[in-house]
């Protein structure tokens, strides 16, 4: 019944899964910190923000908008020179990281900004009335109060990011995208493509489940 599974080179399938997880984890961590930083900057420098600054806001906003708009497959190609400078090569899982991060962080930054905007202005005012510094407001009010939004936003971003790792796979990043394209599609071995798809789905479901769980846990509203 399971003979068709004999056609699958399992060691290389698991290796590819490992590469996909590696790309997702590393770029996820960077995307999180970069996204929170950019989102905070957008929120704080926006009109009426704690550090209102039109010039910085416009600069970051246009950076975010540009990189959010470029189709990922084109972004990878555009970022080849940068990748070579940072990683030293344009092939392999590590080489995919800069473009995955630069593709995902601006997206997450916008979600962070939206989440921060939802924080009750009254609570910020209360903190100011108590004599909190702007920095204390960021750490003790804004980020903790926006945590459910940061968490649900990160879940969405991570799932989008897995899609990007697969796309990066087609241009030589390795991972499940590479195996599905090279050994599945090009070698006309549909079983491989199918298995790679199932593994990606499982990863997505796990991330969605864990993300939802964390979001519920931190949401005390």
């Amino acid at each position: 019944m399971f003979e068709w599974l004999q056609n699958v080179d399992w060691p290389s399938m698991w290796l590819s899964t490992g590469q996909t997880l590696y790309m997702t984890a590393i770029s996820g961590v960077f995307t999180f910190f970069l996204g929170v930083a950019l989102g905070l900057l957008l929120y704080l420098t926006a009109k009426g923000g704690l550090y209102e600054n039109q010039i910085i806001y416009r600069f970051i906003a246009s950076f975010v908008n540009v990189f959010r708009s470029i189709p990922f497959i084109i972004l990878i190609i555009l970022l080849i020179p940068l990748t070579v400078i940072i990683i030293g090569t344009m092939i392999g899982a590590s080489a995919a990281l800069p473009s995955i991060i630069i593709g995902a962080a601006p997206f997450y930054a916008r979600l962070v900004e939206i989440g921060l905007r939802e924080v009750d202005k009254g609570v910020i005012e209360a903190a100011q009335a108590m004599g909190a510094t702007k920095w204390q407001i960021v750490w003790k009010v804004l980020l903790p109060e926006a945590l459910p939004s940061l968490s649900s936003g990160m879940t969405v971003t991570l799932i989008a990011l897995i899609g990007n790792t697969a796309m990066a796979g087609v241009v030589g990043a390795g991972g499940l995208g590479t195996i599905a394209y090279n050994e599945g599609f090009q070698a006309n071995n549909n079983t491989i493509t199918f298995i790679a798809t199932v593994i990606i789905l499982v990863i997505v479901f796990i991330i969605q489940y864990v993300g939802d769980h964390i979001t519920r846990r931190v949401d005390k509203r």
């Binding site: 009750d120 609570v123 903190a127 009335a129 108590m130 004599g131 903790p144 109060e145 945590l147």
Partner: protein, 322 residues
Amino acid sequence: MRALSDVSLAIQEGEVFGIIGYSGAGKSTLIRMINLLEKPTSGTITIDGRSLTDLDERQLREERRSIGMIFQHFNLLWSRTVAENIAFPLELTKLKKKQREDRIAELIRMVGLEGKESAYPSQLSGGQKQRVGIARALANNPKVLLCDEATSALDPKTTDSILTLLSEINKTLGLTIILITHEMTVIRKICDRVAVLDGGKIVEQGTVESVFSNPQQTITQEFVGNHTGKSTPIQIKVSDVIHTEGTVISLSAADQATFQHSLSRLLGNTNLSVKVLGLAYGANTQSEHTIVSIQGASESIRKAINVLRSEGVRVEVTKENV
């Protein structure tokens, strides 16, 4: 646009000062100016001899720690428990952990929230949330407490319990309280002095009794509950009654018709000299007492009181004739 102009208020240490006005009158702006959440274009704000308007940002933050504030919508951090919310202002100062915990326990006792320490605001009622707000505002032993429509989101019964708590705090800690409201009951219940704000200007101010026993402005008359422009019911404090001649009694009845009948009979009693002094209100405005002074032979007075009681009128002798 000018939200406020020519506002001059001197608030005494230890008093409860109320500012009443309709929405849009500038109340919120005014109370926010006291801790400079709202910056005045000109003028000064001085608390305890320190001019807040001359402070730099760091000094202002220090000074704000001695000005507590509570809000209409409580403005608690929903991501923190009751104890953690109260801890917030203490975290901003350099208090040791042990002292912080002792202080939190003390504040929780003070506002009557024992057992709710680890509850989240979403699990509390409005009144309980405001108690957390009060505890948080008192954490750093402020000199002044600002109340921004603190009871406007609460039902009458809860409003009453919060006002009682504020009144207790004012008495036990000698804390100066400045509150803004659009509700007369709040002013009546806890304020010593009141200012009426209309169109960004203070139109009337003074002790609660003087302002409301003799309201000069139409808006003040409206707040007192009579906007026909005719004479308004007089609010009497028991202390004023002491200086009135004769026996002073306070009358009230559930049934208005019998009450009026009895009252007119009393006024028509030729053996006595009867004078209506005015109206007094209990904790809720529904209980209205008519204050009457009677002069005459003590035997006739006693008889008249007995007649009133037999007719179903509640009679309280506030002061016996001597």
